[in-house]
Symmetry: C2
Subunit: 292 residues, 2 copies
DNA sequence: TTTAATATCTGACTAATGTCAGAAAAGTTG
DNA sequence: CAACTTTTCTGACATTAGTCAGATATTAAA
């Protein structure tokens, strides 16, 4: 390549900052200075600590105070002293503030949609590229959180998981993986567990645990979004689910998988899983177990 | 996918703007206000029209004038009236200005390198994703410019072209495509022509024309970078090179290609090229001609 | 040649942002 | 309790960015 990677990143940066007006949250266009709006969008409806906002935005306390007064005068927020520490103040959105925030959100949404439309036939690829970049830039902040097995994020991960199996495992067809029964209890406490890994607000990985009638539990649906691979996330998910299984009192774990999923199998072997005798049918062709 | 494309773009935007300090050209950190630096980086060492800078940055003429005075006071630029139109002024970097610009460049370069390092094993993919996004955002500004056949940009395109052939054409091995002889005249005026398509400063496509001993000319090395496909660039390159051939007085054009390159062949057919009898050997297996 | 348009420059002005010092109130530590 | 720290608030001030109305020199059009 003609340009070295650094030059290419800087070219990317020029392109992105040139679009800054279209890309950003659209602070402008509603007759309010940028600083004020930056504060406004950080105020949660249920109330946010003023010091937290100041810290996040790196503002001087005097300036922050003025922004708050200005938003208060407009009737967009209310402030009250923190009952726990009466030096501190808490800012809360008023209904008018929520409406104003929604208006900013709508502008940002419209601009984003227009930008995607500009990519034309390659919009999907562009968004995938954005996922990758955002995930890599956010890599330090991959959060593992428990999830309800019927939640939209679990369903999204499920679809990614099935797409992966269909693409890589010979003989795996979508019909073999019906959408999981809503309301089923086996992947939900107290019987089982489900976890989702988040990068910002994008779910990028999952893993579940369910009890087995024969005793012990089974690890299911380990999946990592393409944009989040190569960062040890699968290992973190497995560590998490094994830890959960241990605290639930299980001593033996099982899983089934397919030999086409070589990285997953390598991870299992590297973390103490060993081959066991088959306990399910195709498309599984590898069965492993671990004693906790 | 859980998030719709717009939400994913906005997530991308959050990630990128959070890195703004690291991503931008590092205007800050050398004790000079942003506006001044924006002007400074637009001044070319050989001299730039002041009106051009003002237009690109969207500045008021009064403000622009003050920025110029400030940079002049610092000894970073010199201004002179344009001999062609003595109302206009031309700004030129002084040696001190070039040094200062180099310092800004070094800061930006270091920050970009650090950011790429953070992507770890997926740095290559991240940079490719950035290429795609930057090219799509810049899609309106794809410039076709003549190039010297020995220039680094043509060499970069050549490598992309060969990589493409090796990947897609059965039997095409890198040895079949030695690096073109430097100093050869057939792809350079007055005998031939070479064009490069630029997206900002990344070469994203090329095409060449060379004379044939049998009369007429041959179109060679049509290639478009992956990030720039789907935007009609190949068609623009072909239109350009055919136009050049016409003004050079050629009336017949030829080219050889391979049936694996189906989009290219479809383009040729759609623009009036027809099959002709073979005039070269493997890996070519399709030969086409066009009468101007 | 007269008139109009263009490019730059200067001065006056405003808005937005940021900095600093200190006051007031509340909490923490000895 | 006294001494100190932390959080917020206010006033004074500086810097940056941007707008507007001429003034001046030059070029283009009638």
């Amino acid at each position: 390549m003609f340009l070295d990677p650094v030059a290419r990143l800087r070219r990317f940066n020029r392109a992105v900052t040139r679009e800054a007006g279209a890309l950003d949250l659209s602070f402008l266009g509603r007759g309010r200075p940028l600083g004020t709006v930056r504060v406004l969008v950080m105020v949660r409806p249920e109330g946010t600590d003023v010091a937290l906002i100041r810290d996040r935005l790196g503002l001087d306390s005097g300036l922050m105070s003025r922004f708050l007064r200005s938003l208060e005068r407009e009737g967009l927020i209310e402030t009250a002293t923190d009952p726990a520490d009466r030096r501190r103040r808490i800012a809360r959105l008023t209904p008018a503030g929520e409406a104003e925030l929604a208006a900013y959100d709508a502008i940002g949404h419209a601009r984003a949609a227009r930008l995607i439309a500009r990519a034309g036939s390659r919009a999907d690829e562009m968004v995938a590229a954005m996922d990758l970049i955002a995930t890599l830039l956010n890599r330090a902040q991959l959060d593992l959180r428990p999830a309800d097995p019927d939640s939209p994020e679990i369903l999204a991960c499920w679809r990614g998981y099935v797409a992966e199996l269909v693409a890589r495992v010979p003989g795996a067809r979508p019909e073999l993986f019906p959408v999981p029964d809503p309301g089923a209890d086996s992947y939900r406490p107290p019987h089982g567990r489900s976890f989702v890994a988040w990068s910002d607000d994008l779910p990028v990985g999952c893993v579940s645990l369910r009890p087995l009638a024969s005793g012990g539990a089974e690890v299911k649906r380990l999946w990592v979004h393409d944009s989040a691979r190569g960062q040890g996330l699968a290992r973190r998910l497995m560590t998490q689910i094994e830890e959960e299984a241990r605290t639930m009192g299980h001593t033996t774990l099982k899983l089934d998988t397919n030999s086409a999923l070589s990285e997953a199998i390598a991870l299992y072997r590297a973390t103490g899983w060993t081959d066991i005798s088959p306990y399910t049918g195709p498309p599984a062709d590898v069965w492993m177990g671990k004693t906790l």
